[in-house]
């Protein structure tokens, strides 16, 4: 695969898969922020208005500036993905665009409304009446959920394709409702939306945890930690239950994917659950084995039969088995640890109405953001690599979907360079905004609402878009 001249098509497939994985893996973090961050911003805004809480209002105002920047970058990386439907996978879109496309058309409405209300909210802080301004933010949350539904439903359809015929050759008949409400939607869509809230919550909380570890322990920082961490702590156990349901559904609907995730070579009962370990054709090497537990997880009994990779020919099995297995275990492991963090917070709050006092709580919270992002990426590896070699499960192979145009390795290289620069600039920009705000805290107070004349000069000069 490293000799593009010798194997042009195989090389195109590798390049296109790499580029898609990279751009999607990048976009998914921004998309998660786009879905969940506005909700946290509005919680702070509501608290600020309802309880006359200046700290909460200041958080909401600053978070809205972060939303503005991440939304703009997310819109760009999302546009790239829609180009890639044609640039990388023209045969897939050419054959099935008429099947899954309606979902993207619906997503288009949500995204459009989201962009409009993001603009009204972000640029409306000074002149709109406070509660009018708050309500202008509510559609952002709703459209974020709707957009997530539409996009993830397309991925669900690729896992559980239905609602079109014939299943080979050109599609002539489409049943849009069966496409939209395909069987994977009930678990995949909530799983992704919860992931967005979880990732955003831990990520935002981790920023304020770092600030508190550096000695900035004022009420503003505690509130900045508490709002997102509470939301994430509520979402995490629900996520665990939804994920568990999803895994069982996959064991039934996409048994080969599940076998790949769990390194199950032969169909059998009393299958051992391995935590990590190396997948080989003769079973798992290393790792911690719990006899019978895999069968138990699938059917609540060790007698449950689990389908193995041997149920299909080698060409139909997912590649990179060990990576797939590790990705799955990493996602589950991180989610479990994050539940523990949430319980820690919940316990301290129940006993003392405060966050735990030990610096260890802040240290753990400080790494929880990165951990949540790792879990998110691991989850996408599970669903995407686990579906291979199919782009549409059991219907179309990824190798038949890829473009025949030359130059994908070039665009992949460009995209990596560009996105690395984009990511570095984004982080640097957010850090610069934070430094500027800290400097502003030391000089004067920002006044979010009020006639323009009452706004101190420093506010607009520090204004993000």
């Amino acid at each position: 695969m490293w000799l593009p001249d010798a194997l042009p098509l195989a090389s195109n497939l590798e390049a296109a898969r790499s580029q898609m994985a990279f751009t999607l893996g990048f976009h998914i973090v921004l998309a998660s922020l786009g879905v969940a961050f506005p909700a946290m911003m509005l919680v702070a805004n509501y608290r600020g208005l309802r309880h006359d809480d200046a700290d909460a209002l200041l958080l909401a105002r600053r978070w809205s500036k972060v939303v503005a920047v991440t939304f703009a970058v997310g819109a760009v990386t999302g546009t790239v993905l829609s180009f890639e439907f044609g640039l990388l996978w023209p045969a897939f879109t050419g054959r099935f665009g008429e099947v899954f496309g309606v979902l993207f058309a619906i997503e288009g409405i949500f995204f459009f409304l989201e962009a409009i209300f993001v603009a009204i909210y972000i640029f409306g802080w000074r002149r709109l009446a406070p509660w009018t301004h708050f309500w202008a933010g509510v559609p952002i949350v709703i459209t974020g959920l709707g957009g997530a539904f539409s996009v993830v439903a397309v991925n669900s359809w690729m896992n559980q394709p239905q609602g079109f015929s014939p299943t080979s050759g050109d599609v002539t008949k489409v049943q849009p409702l069966k496409v939209i409400f395909n069987p994977a939607v009930p678990y995949e869509v909530p799983h992704m939306i919860l992931a967005a809230y979880l990732v955003t919550g831990f990520l935002v909380a981790s920023v304020y945890a770092v600030g508190m570890l550096r000695g900035r322990r004022d009420r503003y920082h505690r509130l900045g930690l508490l709002i997102p961490l509470t939301i994430a702590a509520i979402a995490t156990p629900i996520q665990f239950a939804v994920g568990d349901t999803a895994a069982r559904a996959i064991a039934k609907d996409q048994p080969v994917k599940f076998a790949g995730m769990e390194c199950v070579q032969q169909t059998a009962t009393h299958v051992t659950e391995y935590i990590y370990g190396r997948c080989t054709s003769s079973g798992v090497k290393g790792g911690i084995g719990i006899p019978g537990f895999d069968s138990f997880l699938v059917g609540f009994s060790t007698d449950t039969q689990v389908t193995g990779l041997d149920s299909v020919p080698p060409d139909d099995r997912p590649p990179d088995n060990t990576m797939l297995h590790w990705a799955f275990d990493t996602m589950v492991g991180i989610c479990t640890a994050l539940i523990a963090l949430g319980l820690w917070l919940g316990f301290a709050w129940w006993r003392r109405r405060d966050i735990p006092q030990t610096p260890w709580f802040l240290r753990v919270t400080a790494v929880s953001g990165v951990a949540a992002v790792v879990a998110l990426e691991a989850g996408w590896i599970v669903t995407e690599v686990g579906r291979q070699p199919w782009i549409v499960n059991d219907v179309m192979r990824t190798e038949d979907a890829v473009t025949k145009a030359d130059g994908i390795w070039v665009t992949f290289g460009l995209v990596v360079a560009l996105y690395v620069a984009l990511g570095v600039t984004l982080v640097a920009t957010l850090r610069a905004m934070s430094r500027r705000w800290r400097a502003a805290d030391e000089s004067e107070t920002e006044v979010p609402y009020g006639p323009p004349d009452a706004v101190p000069a420093g506010v607009s000069a520090g204004g993000a878009p």
């Binding site: 920047v69 939304f71 703009a72 970058v73 819109a75 760009v76 546009t79 790239v80 829609s82 180009f83 044609g86 640039l87 023209p90 045969a91 879109t93 050419g94 054959r95 665009g97 008429e98 099947v99 496309g101 309606v102 993207f104 058309a105 619906i106 288009g108 409405i109 995204f111 459009f112 409304l113 962009a115 409009i116 209300f117 603009a119 009204i120 640029f123 409306g124 000074r126 002149r127 709109l128 489409v174 049943q175 849009p176 473009t403 025949k404 145009a405 030359d406 130059g407 665009t411 560009l418 600039t425 920009t429 610069a432 905004m433 500027r436 506010v459 607009s460 204004g463 993000a464 878009p465």
Partner: protein, 338 residues
């Protein structure tokens, strides 16, 4: 009119909206780049930021709309265009990334050099994207995009006189639209000297765009006969309407302080796009694929129309709200340009 025709109309509506709103945005980037240094240049760029800040994101959603409707309703055409025209479309996408990133970051970059880099990226990519999208339109119009996965020539399909002229025309039209819009924005911001300087630029851009449009007709005659014939027959009334509106703009702008140029500038662009659509009909890809043959399954086409209906009901009032709030300066960037 068949369902496929109606969906093609929806697609063309999206193309029109993108050309007008997205085009004006690209043009604003062009003027930001061309503003030059010094205090005057700084103020012109501030005016551009202030004018497009709240609306630019929404303006570019139209592109997504066009892509989605194309691949949903006419998937084989989408496959053919995106695989054969891999190079210009990749470059257009590159421009979109740079442009969005430049715009997102230039306001937050405190240090001057960072801000300068971001602004130049924004400006240069505002040229690249419409240019390469123009070459794609030229390739389609001249029948250089055969059906199938990368079946056409990867280079000559878009590197030909027609594509280059259309690419240049797209850039010029964007600059022209933007300059006319910025005259009104400068008036709204209360900066008469910038109003005057954009009036002069609008006149210049109108001349260039008009000259390129005339050159385009000549190349079309030689290279894309089907579209040329359509433009000079079925599409002729719309072409004449476009020319009249196009001429009205410099006439209105001949003296400082004149109003109404914006509506005529938009009308000129809308009329020529629909003239083109009429000229190309019934073909989606001229002399390769018709709208009727390229249309997807009937349930899909109906769904697209339903979704479009919902979009009209929900999105149009929301856009109107945003534009109204912006025009009344209830929603605005932190500072007005001084």
């Amino acid at each position: 009119m068949s369902t496929a025709d109606a969906v093609a109309g929806v697609l063309w509506t999206g193309v029109t909206a993108y050309a007008v709103f997205g085009g004006a945005d690209f043009g604003a980037g062009f003027w930001s780049l061309a503003a030059g240094g010094g205090v005057h240049g700084r103020r012109a760029r501030d005016l551009v930021d202030w004018a497009i800040g709240p609306v630019w994101e929404a303006n570019h959603v139209w592109l997504i709309f066009v892509l989605v409707v194309l691949w949903t309703a006419f998937p084989t055409a989408f496959e053919a265009i995106f695989s054969t025209l891999f190079i210009p479309l990749s470059l257009a996408a590159l421009g979109i990334v740079l442009r969005g990133a430049g715009f997102a970051f230039h306001k937050t970059a405190r240090r001057l050099e960072g801000r300068g880099v971001a602004e130049r990226l924004f400006g240069v990519s505002s040229l690249l994207t419409p240019f390469f999208l123009g070459t794609v339109v030229g390739a389609v119009a001249s029948g250089r995009v055969p059906l199938g996965n990368a079946a056409g020539d990867p280079v000559t399909s878009w590197l030909n006189p027609l594509s280059l002229v259309v690419g240049a025309l797209f850039v010029a039209t964007s600059a022209y639209l933007a300059a006319v819009f910025l005259v009104s924005d400068a008036r709204r911001a209360g900066v008469p000297d910038l109003e005057e300087s954009f009036r002069v630029r609008a006149l210049g851009a109108a001349l260039v765009a008009g000259a390129l449009a005339a050159a385009g007709l000549v190349v079309l005659h030689a290279d894309a006969r089907y579209v040329y014939d359509g433009l000079t027959h079925e599409g002729l009334p719309l072409v004449i309407l476009s020319a009249l509106c196009g001429l009205a703009v410099p006439w209105l702008l001949r003296r400082p302080g004149a109003r109404g140029a914006r509506a005529f500038a938009v009308a000129a662009v809308v009329a020529v796009i629909w003239g083109w659509g009429v000229a190309q009909y019934p073909y989606l890809l001229p002399e390769v694929l018709t709208v009727a043959d390229g249309g997807g399954a009937s349930a899909t086409l109906t769904s697209v129309l339903i979704v479009f209906g919902v979009a009209v009901v929900l999105v149009v009032p929301s856009i109107a709200l945003l534009f109204t709030l912006t025009q009344r300066s209830l929603v605005e960037e932190g500072e007005r340009p001084l």
